[in-house]
């Protein structure tokens, strides 16, 4: 296990001082990489924050083990995320500079790829959840956070039968959105 694994543990524990160390060690390289690839300092900090949230989910859910230094790892995760932003901004038209960025990501990411793809899939589901109507979102959130659905129905002021019906409708709608998304079609195993 790499000694920097302790820093991942700080992330899981939401330890302020520990996370500050991650920032201090990693952000200079990430900022430099993004400034050199058509981005701003604000972009760099946004990307870094989103990357840390992804790493948090990876580490929380799948016993993630770090095999490189935290600087190298965070730089790789941030590069991958930044590349996706560039692709979205330019409608998939990748320039030479971005292509070389992409190649450097592909070579180094192999060991982490399965974890990252899983996180991408999860992020996509959460994004699609936000596109549902408010009522559907509320029902899904409540049903996922509690097993006592009679109590949820009471809290929402609806009958248990109505809640069950709505939950199945909302989940079906969410499933449909996911199935129709290009990323899902491309990565369906």
């Amino acid at each position: 296990m790499h000694p920097d694994q302790q820093l991942i543990q700080f992330l899981l524990e939401n330890n302020h001082a520990g996370i500050q160390t991650i920032y201090k060690r990693c952000t200079p390289k990430v900022v430099h990489m993004i400034l050199a690839n058509s981005g701003s300092e604000d972009d760099a900090y946004d990307i870094f924050q989103e990357s840390l949230v992804d790493v948090y989910h990876m580490a929380r859910d799948r016993g993630f083990q770090l095999s490189t230094s935290i600087e190298s790892f965070m730089l790789l995760v941030s590069k991958r995320k930044w590349l996706n932003v560039l692709k979205k901004r330019k409608g998939l038209e990748v320039t030479n500079a971005e292509e070389s960025l992409s190649n450097s990501v592909d070579d180094s990411m192999e060991a982490y790829e399965a974890h990252l793809q899983q996180v991408d899939k999860e992020n996509l589901l959460m994004e699609q959840l936000m596109t549902l109507g408010e009522r559907c979102q509320e029902i899904i959130r409540q049903c996922m956070n509690s097993k006592n659905q009679e109590k949820i129905a009471e809290m929402l002021g609806v009958s248990y039968a109505y809640l069950r019906k709505k939950k199945s409708e909302c989940m079906a709608k969410l499933g449909e959105k996911l199935r129709n998304h290009p990323f899902f079609k491309m990565n369906r195993s």
Binding site: L11, N14, H16, I19, Q20, Y23, K24, T27, Y45, Q49, L52, V53, Y56, H57, R60, D61, K121, E122, L125, M126, L129, M130, E134, R135, E138, I140, R141, Q142, C143, M144, N145, Q149, E154, M155, L156, G157, V158, S159, Y162, R164, K165, K167, S168, E169, M171, A172, L174, G175, L178, R179
Partner: protein, 251 residues
């Protein structure tokens, strides 16, 4: 008879009735799409439970705070290194513009006070109806009266009814949340804060919305330090994130 989607959700949640089991097994045996949908929905439910039960929001709050500390620190360091000198020179060259600038600012301020006395415009959301066909419940009828009053901006009446409902069912956050908003509609921000604060500090489905409206109420009461604390809790995923950021910028 239950739909395919209902059968799938009942199975995943472990509430599939014996009489529906035969149909579920038949579909699973004979319909490949049904099996695929079951697999997808099971995976989705696993992810949703996991993500919605995580402490991502707490982590984001910490990350934002650390980012601010680090970037402020960098700015201070640059200033110490003399980069501020250039700024100072610019200030001197602006001196000749100071009088017209102050005059323009005064005009803007007067205009702002005249047209927008609070400086921040917010909108209260609609209160949703909970009518379910065939349901006869006196409490629900009373709630529907509150919905109608609130949505036509008769906040005196909606507040009265919601106070009554909330007293009967103090645990029901929905009553308390809309009571808070009704009080905001009445411009009774002090009472609105009393109703919204426990929701913003809690874990209900209204927590994020309550943080935003509590932030607005505190801003109206000029309790800006507390307002910032709650507005910063409004997460990126919330529909009020942009509004909260806008208000934070005003401060």
């Amino acid at each position: 008879m239950k739909t395919r989607d209902e059968l799938i959700q009942d199975y995943i949640d472990g509430v599939l009735r014996a009489e529906d089991r035969l149909e579920f097994d038949r579909l699973l045996r004979e319909d490949m799409e049904f099996g695929e949908e079951l697999k997808l929905q099971t995976e989705m439910q696993g992810i949703l439970k996991d993500r919605l039960g995580s402490k991502e929001e707490d982590l984001r709050t910490t990350l934002k705070a650390i980012e601010r500390e680090i970037r402020d620190g960098e700015r201070d360091a640059k200033a110490d290194d003399g980069e501020i000198l250039a700024e100072k020179n610019k200030v001197i060259s602006w001196k000749k513009w100071i009088i017209p600038l102050v005059a323009a600012a005064c005009l803007l301020l007067i205009g702002k006070l005249f047209f927008f006395p609070t400086g921040y415009h917010y909108e209260l959301p609609d209160m949703p109806s909970e009518i379910v066909r065939g349901q006869e419940d006196p409490e629900l009828n009373r709630y529907e009266e509150a919905v109608r009053a609130y949505n036509r901006k008769d906040y005196e009446k909606s507040t009265r009814i919601l106070e009554e409902l909330s007293a009967k069912e103090p645990e029901l956050m929905q009553y308390r949340y809309f009571l808070g908003l009704s009080l905001m509609g009445k411009k009774d921000f002090l009472m609105a804060v009393d109703q919204l604060k426990p929701i913003a500090d809690g874990e209900s489905v209204f927590q994020q919305d309550a943080c935003y409206y509590l932030g607005v109420s505190l801003h109206e009461l000029e309790r800006d330090t507390e307002a910032v604390e709650y507005l910063e809790k409004v997460s990126r995923e919330s529909k009020h994130y942009e509004d909260a950021q806008e208000l934070l910028e005003i401060k």
